[in-house]
């Protein structure tokens, strides 16, 4: 069927185009928008009402007019061409190569919206991933198939951390094909460049696929970017059997793009102007992480988002936290004190940790030790707060020790080098070493035999 071309654009409002007298347009269909100057952009159908079609343009609508803009309906949804050759390549936010490499000769084309994984087909994530970062491995471990976001703030080193995780992640005792899919949404050139050069420098680029939408790229394009990335990830994981780590940064800009479209459509807003379907929309991204019974591969997701004003109750971190399996929260306070990675361990959480650690996975003392460190650190911090109000002298001898513990804990356990890759055994030993500061009688969360085994002098 020849593709019909329409010159019937009536309205252009922000990123939206209203096209009239269209025959046979379908919901969610891919649209080509030919600018008056001959450039071609992409869009998709948001609504069809009889012969009137609402199109969302992924391209900036600068330079469009109602007289000469040509609209072509492609008769299919948005797709990504995939083959093994996507590894090592860099694409723009809509999946077009931008690294001067050849076009991808597709093995197949996949709808970027994917289909929901049947909950019955899911396999529970249980394989511990060693990231080499003590504050994660020791206290809030990541497991294969998990979605664990980093809640950060502007100016915090989340990029460094994400790159470190991508560089160091391994599953103990396995030699499986591992790859990284990286989606940048609205981040700066510098940040993106940091990732690209980091991947190049460590040769990780060979097993990485990058989708880059920068701050000055069209905002609406960002709505497609994470879906492109996850489609590539699903192909690598469930068709090629690879262990895929997906890094999505920054989800805040993604949500803002969504808000922009919603506002242009004059939809009834939910909290802070974000659309009421933000939860559902985010879920269609985050829930694409996981493992499937009988499949070798897996998708682990690390979305990064910057919390506006470091506010955890802002709709973006809030709704994300309701969908993801925990969160790693960064602290400005630790960062100011020059502690890298500045992970605020107390409010951080990994919901899947219990099933991923322990005998046969990491070590039998892992769970108890992490509880011990948690509670000791919490008590130490409380003691320090008290000391601020009432003075150091007001602390009991035990509390003084706990305060000392919390300082040392931050310096020795949380703090580590950007290129320091600690094995889980090293992490646990550091933890035990710190326990020496505390009175033996206060070690209530670990078992007696564990104290004897790991704390002997």
């Amino acid at each position: 069927m020849p593709v019909k071309e329409y010159l019937t654009v009536r309205d252009i409002v922000g990123p939206l185009l209203l096209v009239e007298d269209v025959d046979g347009a379908k919901f969610a269909e891919l649209v080509e928008i030919e600018f008056p100057d001959g450039a071609v952009g992409l869009g998709n159908v948001l609504e069809v009402n009889e012969r009137t079609v609402l199109v969302q343009s992924f391209e900036d609508t600068h330079g469009l007019d109602t007289a000469n803009t040509r609209i072509r309906f492609r008769g299919r949804g948005m797709e990504l061409a995939v083959s093994r050759d996507i590894l090592g390549r860099i694409f723009d936010g809509l999946g077009r190569p931008i690294d001067d490499g050849p076009e991808i000769i597709p093995e197949k084309r996949l709808d970027i919206n994917g289909n929901p994984i049947n909950p019955f087909a899911r396999d529970y994530p249980t394989d511990f991933i060693q990231t080499g970062i003590s504050a994660i491995d020791g206290l809030n471990p990541l497991v294969r198939g998990q979605k664990l976001p980093i809640f950060s703030g502007s100016g915090l080193p989340h990029s460094k951390m994400a790159a470190q995780i991508a560089r160091q992640s391994t599953v103990l005792g396995t030699e499986e094909e591992f790859s990284v899919v990286f989606a940048a949404m609205g981040i700066t050139f510098e940040e993106a460049n940091y990732f690209i050069s980091e991947f190049r420098r460590t040769a990780a680029i060979e097993r990485a696929v990058l989708f880059i939408n920068l701050a000055n790229d069209p905002a609406v394009e960002r709505i497609a970017t994470p879906r492109m990335a996850l489609t590539a990830a699903e192909y690598l994981a469930f068709e090629l059997g690879m262990q895929v780590l997906v890094i999505l940064t920054d989800m805040t800009y993604y949500c803002e793009a969504l808000r922009e479209v919603s506002a242009a459509r004059k939809e009834v807003p939910g909290r802070r102007g974000y659309p009421g379907y933000l939860y559902t929309d985010l879920a269609t991204i985050y829930e694409r992480a996981g493992r499937i019974k009988g499949e070798k591969g897996s998708i682990t997701q690390i979305p990064i988002l910057t919390m506006p004003e470091d506010d955890k109750t802002h709709p973006i971190p809030d709704l994300t936290g309701y969908i993801t399996e925990g969160q790693i929260i960064l602290s400005r306070d630790l960062h100011r004190r020059n502690i890298y990675p500045p992970i605020d361990v107390l409010p951080s959480l990994s919901r899947l940790k219990e099933k991923g650690i322990g005998e046969g996975k990491t070590r039998e003392d892992h769970s108890n030790l992490s509880n011990q460190l948690f509670s000791a650190y919490a008590r130490g911090k409380e003691a320090k707060e008290l000391a601020v109000i009432l003075g150091e002298a007001a602390l009991s001898d035990d509390d003084k020790l706990f305060a000392k513990f919390s300082d040392e804990f931050e310096e020795k356990f949380i703090k580590q080098g950007e290129y320091e890759n600690r094995s889980i055994v090293e992490t646990l030993s550091t933890g035990w070493e710190l326990c020496r500061i505390l009175p033996r009688g206060e070690l209530k969360r670990v078992k007696k035999h564990q104290i004897e085994k790991y704390l002997k002098d």
């Binding site: 919901f27 969610a28 019955f120 939910g270 269609t284 829930e287 309701y322 948690f374 919490a378 009432l390």
Partner: protein
Amino acid sequence: MVEDSDVGEIVKVSGPLVVARNLPGPRMYDLVRVGDSRLMGEIIELRGDNVSVQVYEETGGLGPGDPVFPTGGALSVELGPGLIESIYDGVQRPLSAIREEYGNYIERGVDVPGLSRTREWEFKPSVEEGAEVRQGDILGTIQETAVAEHRVMVPRGVSGRVLEIRGGVHKVTDVVAVIGSDDKSVEVTLLQKWPVRNARPVKVKLAPTVPLITGQRVIDTFFPVAKGGTACVPGPFGSGKTVIQHQIAKWADADIILFIGCGERGNEMTEVLLEFPELIDPYSGEPLMKRTVLIANTSNMPVAAREASVYTGITIAEYYRDMGYSVALQADSTSRWAEALREISGRLEEMPGEEGFPAYLGTRLASFYERAGLVECECSGERRGSITVVGAVSPPGGDLSEPVTQATLRVVKVFWGLEDKLAFRRHFPAINWLVSYSLYLDEVEKEWARMVSPEFAKLRTDAMRLLQEESELQEIVRLIGIEALSPRERLAMESAKSVREDFLQQNAYDVTDSFSSLKKQFLLLRCVMAFEYAGSAAIEKGVEIRDVVASPVREEIAQAKFIPEDELDRIEELEKKVRDTMEEFSSRLEVKEALDLF
């Protein structure tokens, strides 16, 4: 273009909402099939010739001109043997069968019936030919699983003489009975259908009085829910809503469990699917899965089907209630269901209420929770069944003033308020004892007297008073320091701490601690309170608070919750030891005083 006169035609597609025209005889809430792939949809608005349909599947690729097929019936569920141990999506499509047929992803246009058409069941009639029966009467039974006896009932609106009854092995579509008079008769199959948006009829509703034992101490002892009652669990993320829901699904002393995963995480359903066949029900000794029906419409599955999922769930619950069972239904989370309502309402361009939620949010929530209850079942004899509904609520930012929480609080009788601060302190279940409440308490306390001991109610009142007192005293301590407290108050602080840590805190992941019988809860609370009672007596007599607080017996109280169910006398012994220890302090003091005097 569609020419056929008995088929409608799409004019508009906007996300899950499709508007069709020329649909013959449309009725509100009728089921339709949309497009050539025949996606399921439901009519939710009629405007002149235009019919708005909410579609339960992704609508990508649909466009004006595509056909819409009427089905003539409302969205219904299939009721019959085979429901238990199944996992369904929001519109009762079995996820296991979908995987077998369509693979790991849920494709569009999947059409698999809710009940297997090939599976065979042994039907044992319990009425004889010639008996007079009316709707709701039991015709016979099927052993559905090791613990669940399925009672085949006379369908609604059918009554008369049993003309024929066929025992033996049947498929669900087979006729097992013929009922009526000689000139007019109805064939009854094992499979019956019921429209999900209509509550199944009951003879009378009764006031719930018997507690639902969940094995969770803070719930059963402090904020109990009655069988047939309603409860809600609001809390910010990470405060443990889902763990509480799972714990209730695991340990509640209900006959049948319905767990609705409504717009939540896929892996949580996987966890249930993995754990429930392994975990053993403390009452029946059989795997928990043998009494459980799961409905999973995870957050990434179509939003309209999420809206339907709670109705699908409660209709199945009502079916088992009508057999005379007590059913516990968990909906996790009702906020996601409300969001689905909001999304559809927005697409219909309705005038929004608070925060974009439709104005009818409150009525919809209320009519859902009203389907809970203790009832006299519809039948000629006497039969009682109940549905207890526990709904999780996920308030944005943990703010309880938001519309869904508020609308829910207006209808439910029990409120378990979760708090993230408690969760950060690793106090689980993170139910805040100061804000939570249960309106069934008076009724349930009477039952306690019968089930466990008349002492129970007083213990609970005293423990609650201690916790209240603690929060007041904490204020003073924060301002002036612990020295400002009298010994009596110091003891109250310590006792309250013990109530919190040794009674309220419960580890869901510990084999022994995960479940406490009501008996154990009583003994444990009595033991914890013995420290308070005997401790105050000792202090009255002049014993130093230091000695009381430092007593090593407190370590043992802390460990008491790990005493297994079959060694409960150890808790009683411990309680005696607590009292003895305190008395010893007093008598030692008396001796000392006597010596000093001397």
